[in-house]
């Protein structure tokens, strides 16, 4: 391992500096807090490291080793080779945040293009250059609603992922914002619009829904929900699975004010849940309240087109305690992967991809619905995830599937006690007919 060139120049440099030994440079650390040595193993060579990690990796099963149908808002998608090739260019991935515009034009232009495509995909005027993940993007959206509307409560559906709920409640704790949950209709799995009408009042800064929602179901009462929000002086925030936007309307077309989502699916691997990519877009009128970095187009001193970080006065490195958010490091490289991914698919390719996801979702749910003891829980149109109610113990069922090298659906009853023996299945364009047949035949066998 050789990453530290001056290890061999040390004595020469010390001599030049007229310093006897390296300890002098640490003389300002009081001796009572000095340590002799870290209790860590000896360093490994590159070859040894690779061997060790190979051994560790062999205790994992990827989606290539196991047939997986697990949902929960995150699933592997196909990644074209060009994406990895481009984000592996070290001019991109070894760069810092583009504080020096003149030396960062490449990344800045790529982020400007990313913002353009995300704004279009969601039907919003503007997008930022990424937040951490879907959960924090929701939290930042809620905080933004509160800044704009100066009201102290925020409505969410009861059925968003429990992880997101927990993240949101942590971000809203400081400014003491009340989170109000609107129940879902037990038949359809959609937001109960009547309940929403009853719950909402003039103190609500924003109303949030997801489309498709956590149960995979399309929320088709969006116009009603949007109107209810607006009539009560609230902003309308929509969470998306970006892959679905090739088959359904853009949230901007049903009057969303802010759109957020987990964007990882656009060209990034599942990576055991991270790295992730927080999508964030909104209407132009809210520009100066937006969190996170945003890239703008301007000119250089010769009038040539140029890019730089814009509206930095909202950010922590300028505004400190009064910034719109504390975010600094974001998910730049994941955003670059997404831009590359979207441009590779193009409009037609992306719509086709989205359609395959939709169709595979229908095929699998239809197939599973035929199995004895299996029933689709909600009678609504869904995207590529859906809930199945079974007549058996789902934990035992998943164990049996695992023995057949299949990862079954996500078990829901821990966080949704109503959904006893229910599982959330997910499927993407990576699955083929054979995969559907396989799980169906194994399930038939197990259930009989």
């Amino acid at each position: 391992m050789k990453f530290i060139p001056n290890s061999s120049e040390k004595n020469k440099m010390l001599k030049e500096m007229k310093i006897k030994n390296i300890d002098y440079l640490f003389a300002d650390i009081p001796s009572n807090i000095k340590i002799k040595k870290l209790d860590l193993p000896k360093g490994l060579s590159q070859q040894e490291t690779e061997k060790k990690l190979r051994g560790i990796a062999n205790n994992n099963k990827s989606y290539n080793d196991i047939l997986s149908f697990i949902g929960g808002g995150i699933k592997p998608h196909y990644i074209p080779s060009i994406v990895k090739s481009i984000i592996s260019r070290s001019e991109f991935y070894t760069a810092y945040t583009p504080y020096q515009s003149e030396a960062s034009q490449g990344f800045l232009q790529a982020m400007f293009e990313y913002q353009s495509m995300i704004a279009d995909l969601t039907g919003m005027d503007i997008a930022n250059a990424s937040l951490y993940d879907g959960g924090t993007a929701l939290s930042e959206a809620a905080l933004m609603c509160v800044r704009i509307k100066r009201k102290k409560s925020f409505i969410i559906p009861e059925n968003i992922s429990w992880e997101k709920k927990s993240i949101l409640s942590n971000y809203l704790k400081g400014p003491d914002i009340k989170i109000v949950e609107v129940p879902y209709d037990k038949k359809t799995g959609k937001v109960d619009v009547k309940e929403l009408e009853d719950i909402i009042d003039g103190n609500v800064a924003g109303v949030y829904i997801e489309n498709p929602n956590f149960f995979g179901v399309f929320e088709d009462n969006v116009n009603k929900i949007s109107n209810i929000a607006k009539e009560n002086g609230s902003l309308f925030v929509v969470g998306v699975d970006p892959i679905s936007l090739g088959v359904i309307k853009k949230p901007g077309d049903y009057n969303a004010d802010i759109v957020i989502g987990e964007g990882r699916a656009l060209g990034n691997p599942v990576d055991y849940g991270g790295s992730s990519l927080g999508l964030f877009s909104c209407k132009q009128e809210f520009l100066r309240q937006m969190p996170g970095r945003v890239i703008g187009m301007t000119n250089d001193n010769n009038g040539k087109r140029a890019f730089c970080m814009a509206l930095q006065t909202r950010e922590q490195h300028i505004r400190r305690g009064r910034a719109t958010s504390n975010i600094c490091t974001n998910e730049g490289l994941c955003a670059l992967a997404s831009a590359c991914y979207l441009s590779w698919y193009g409009s037609q390719g992306f719509e086709k991809l989205s359609k395959i996801n939709f169709e595979n979702g229908q095929k699998l749910s239809k197939e599973l619905n035929l199995i004895k003891g299996f029933k689709r829980k909600f009678e609504s149109i869904h995207f590529n995830e859906f809930v199945i109610q079974t007549s058996t113990d789902v934990r035992e069922l998943n164990k049996k599937l695992l023995k057949n090298n299949i990862q079954g659906g996500l078990i829901l009853d821990k966080h949704y006690p109503d959904l006893k023996n229910c599982m959330l299945f997910g499927i993407t364009e990576l699955h083929c007919e054979e995969d559907i047949k396989k799980i169906s035949s194994v399930l038939k066998e197990v259930m009989s």
């Binding site: 001019e91 353009s116 490195h317």
Partner: protein, 480 residues
């Protein structure tokens, strides 16, 4: 002389016109969600995409391009093996909700990384969940609140910071709902014990500190500081952005800090990715353990790794799943390769490089260095003399450095230094590179101010009008 590649690179949607797909609606989709407007992505050939991004990359400067001494950012070399291994599908193709028995490798890495970070920092427990340093700080503030509220001390609403703190510190404090109190540093650029003692009270929740601080000075009074803070019943928070100065020398845990965040994308060599993804793990002393995010990772007697969600006092979650796993994996690989001696050597050489450069520049008499002499991994110069004598600003020096093929240091930070240049060379640079930077900086001071004002000229574009970008924001190609 350095010259950057220059392209008048069109936008993706200028390379190829966007085709209106006019696709047929899908009849099964609910009516109210049927598309009214098609998506408008550029339709390109893969060759065009490859060239586009290739051109863009050539107009971008990374650590592989050259010296990158951004202060407090620790731009060290990113070993290639970390990129290779983290892209193996046995890691990158695992799903966060799949059965734990099928991802024992991942859990082992997370478990062992927590233990290694505990050893390096002297803390008792770690959470790997935060996505970046700022989120680590935010988590630290949540833990602080949970700790005090659990003791029934709900009136602890204030967090104290020195005026040299990183911008994320005050932003995280207010985001978590605390009141912010900034205290002035001493003439030596350190925490003023008298002021600190007067400022702490029964309302103080926490004191946040970076050590060495952003001037690169080690806060030698740390033992007194921790006594003052703890006597007041408050917690002491360590901003680990500058951890690269002290590995194997001293540990925040031994200094008396209660909460620590690290930036794996700084000290532990994971790439910055042009802004992210990062990772900001948080370590705590045992008294704060029960408040850490869930799930915790455990190991059974028969060496099986498990998730533990049974933590009633936990603050819950701050990020989906288990943090930025791919970044955590790279840091794990880095620590494996460095080992105990390697990490210590990294800090020693980082500090050596910094002091070596500092001596040479200060000896030249061209730049001044306010505050104490001995520095750790970074130091802060002032261009105030140049400004007074020749109207040369820190900004001008920074932009001119670009013409020499060098990335400028952090500028105008910390705020207590006028016309600041904040330089952090890291351990990754050779003596030759350090000398080259020093010589360039010195020769810039003697250049005609007119040349500096017009710089940079060797970059793809000249000096950017950033004020215009904020006054007249154009944030995507539809706004042009």
């Amino acid at each position: 002389m350095y010259r950057s590649a220059v392209y008048d690179e069109p936008f993706l949607n200028e390379i190829s016109k966007i085709i209106d797909t006019k696709s047929k609606p899908i009849s099964e989709i609910p009516k109210s969600l049927q598309k009214t407007d098609n998506i408008k992505l550029p339709d390109l050939d893969e060759t065009q995409i490859a060239r586009h991004y290739h051109h863009l990359s050539q107009m971008n400067y990374g650590i592989d391009s050259g010296f990158y001494p951004l202060g407090s950012c620790t731009m060290k070399y990113n070993p290639k093996i970390c990129e290779t291994i983290s892209s193996w599908d046995k890691f990158s193709g695992t799903h966060p909700y799949q059965d734990p028995s099928t991802v024992q490798g991942n859990l082992k890495i997370l478990f062992e990384l927590e233990r290694m970070l505990c050893e390096i920092t002297g803390m008792d427990f770690f959470s790997l969940q935060p996505a970046a340093g700022a989120q680590g700080e935010f988590l630290g503030m949540l833990l602080t609140r949970a700790y005090h509220e659990n003791k029934g001390e709900n009136n602890r609403t204030e967090v104290i910071l020195p005026d040299t703190s990183h911008g994320t510190n005050p932003a995280s404090v207010t985001m978590a709902g605390f009141n912010l109190i900034e205290i002035e540093s001493t003439k030596e650029g350190m925490v003023d014990l008298e002021i600190l003692e007067k400022t702490v009270s029964e309302k103080t929740a926490c004191f946040m500190l970076t050590n060495p601080n952003t001037l690169g000075i080690f806060e030698s009074d740390i033992t007194e500081i921790q006594k003052i803070v703890h006597k007041a019943g408050a917690l002491l928070y360590y901003d680990g952005a500058n951890m690269n100065a002290i590995m194997g020398k001293t540990r925040p845990g031994d200094m008396g800090f209660d909460i620590v965040h690290l930036n794996l994308h700084k000290t532990f060599s994971t790439p910055h990715g042009g802004g992210g993804p990062g990772s900001g793990p948080v370590g705590v002393k045992i008294k704060l353990e029960k408040f850490l995010p869930i799930p915790r990772i455990g190991r059974t007697e028969d060496e099986k790794y498990i998730f533990d969600y049974d933590a009633p006092k936990s603050i819950g979650k701050i990020k989906n799943f288990y943090g930025n796993f791919s970044v955590l994996l790279k840091a794990y690989i880095y620590i494996q390769m460095m080992g105990s001696d390697g990490l210590k050597n990294a800090s020693e050489i980082a500090v050596l490089n910094s002091n070596y450069m500092k001596n040479k520049i200060v000896d030249s008499g061209k730049y001044e260095m306010p505050y104490k002499n001995l520095r750790k991994h970074e130091f802060v110069l002032s261009c105030e003399k140049l400004r007074k004598e020749k109207n040369i600003r820190a900004m001008d020096v920074a932009k001119r450095l670009l013409d020499y093929g060098l990335h400028p240091p952090t500028i105008y930070f910390p705020l207590i230094v006028k016309e600041a240049l904040m330089i952090e060379p890291t351990e990754s640079e050779s003596k030759t590179e350090l000398d080259k930077f020093v010589e360039s900086l010195i020769s810039i001071a003697d250049e005609d101010p007119e040349i500096l004002k017009k710089s940079p000229v060797n970059t793809p574009i000249g000096r950017v009008d950033e004020v215009n970008a904020t006054k007249n924001p154009i944030l995507n190609w539809n706004m042009i």
